[in-house]
């Protein structure tokens, strides 16, 4: 662009906005549908009903959540659905001051991996913590799911609004 814009080949936002450089835009239709499969399909249906469910492996006896049809450790087909509690323990967490598309947040989101009660140690799901002082969050904190009202649930992990600290 050297001869037409300025002394550098790097383009700035203003060069596009003020018409100093000619360009074509391309806005692809990138909508997609992803088949949830047997295990996640059932998992999402149970979320809609307000329950968490896992699968157990006959070989290593671990109880897996999110459920899968094969144990990733011993490659055995999992064979049993196991209802689980909607409470758990914070395994790890982060304080996040930007959204996924880089909008600054004054009040941080607190994504956390929560080890679900009834599943094997280390088995957990990623979710958001709420109703909690960001500075008070700690590894090992006991939390419970806050469900959306049944009519708002869609069969999604977001049917749980967030996890909040348990009262005890």
């Amino acid at each position: 662009m050297k001869e037409f814009v300025y002394d550098s080949v790097y383009l700035r936002r203003e060069d596009f906005e003020e018409g100093r450089v000619l360009f074509e835009t391309w806005d692809p239709n990138a909508r997609y549908a992803w088949d949830a499969g047997v295990a996640i399909g059932r998992y999402l249906q149970e979320l809609k009903a307000g329950r968490l469910i896992g699968r157990s492996c006959p070989e290593c006896n671990r109880i897996l959540i999110p459920p899968r049809m094969f144990c990733e450790s011993c490659f055995y087909p999992t064979d049993r659905w196991v209802p689980l509690e909607d409470t758990g323990t914070v395994l790890t967490f982060s304080r996040c001051y930007v959204t996924w598309d880089m909008v600054k947040l004054e009040k941080p989101q607190i994504p956390a991996v929560i080890e679900i009660d009834g599943a094997s140690p280390g088995m957990g799901i990623m979710h958001i913590l709420g109703e909690v002082d960001p500075d008070a969050v700690a590894i090992g904190m006991r939390v419970g799911a806050v469900w959306k009202p049944p009519e708002e649930r869609t069969g999604s992990i977001n049917d749980i609004a967030y996890f909040r600290p348990l009262a005890d």
Partner: protein
């Protein structure tokens, strides 16, 4: 569903729907910048010439494809052309039917070694033939924005 059931009906299978918000910007480049600005400002095609290889590049290239020489010989090109090949398009990229069929053609610009892919207009598909002489129809100056669509279409002479 009881506890040991697998999915029995297709209706029970869940789909996860998503959308990836993406927008691409493709700059036209140094040769393209000169080419499209000239179309925008004066409704005039430009080509570059490699005198060594005797090739007139249309649309203009910055480098000769044969000898890799940097090309700075610019030439004004007449807007007359000939249909090299054509097709009639009935669907858009998403396979939806177009309001009216469009004739797409590759037209070779006269006195150059290149050409453009563009629409044919003011003509019925049945009347188009290979080698048909055509000319570019430009949008009015205030509608032009430095894009290939500043040319509305090519029409028979």
């Amino acid at each position: 569903m009881s506890l040991f059931d697998r999915i029995q009906h297709a209706d029970d299978a869940l789909n996860w729907h998503g959308d990836m918000p993406t927008e691409g910007r493709y700059t036209v480049g140094i040769a393209g910048e000169k080419f499209f600005r000239e179309i925008k400002d004066s409704g005039q095609f430009l080509a570059t010439v490699c005198l060594d290889c005797d090739i007139t590049y249309m649309p203009p290239r910055l480098y000769c494809e044969q000898c890799f020489a940097h090309l700075d010989e610019w030439l004004e090109v007449d807007n007359s052309a000939h249909v090299h090949t054509f097709t009639v398009v009935h669907q858009n990229l998403d396979e939806e039917p177009l309001p009216a069929p469009q004739i797409m053609a590759f037209v070779t610009l006269d006195d150059t070694d290149g050409g453009l892919v563009h629409y044919l207009g003011e003509v019925d598909a049945e009347d188009v033939y290979l080698g048909m002489p055509v000319e570019a129809v430009f949008k009015s100056e205030d509608e032009r924005e430095g894009s290939i669509t500043d040319v509305k279409y090519f029409r028979p002479v």
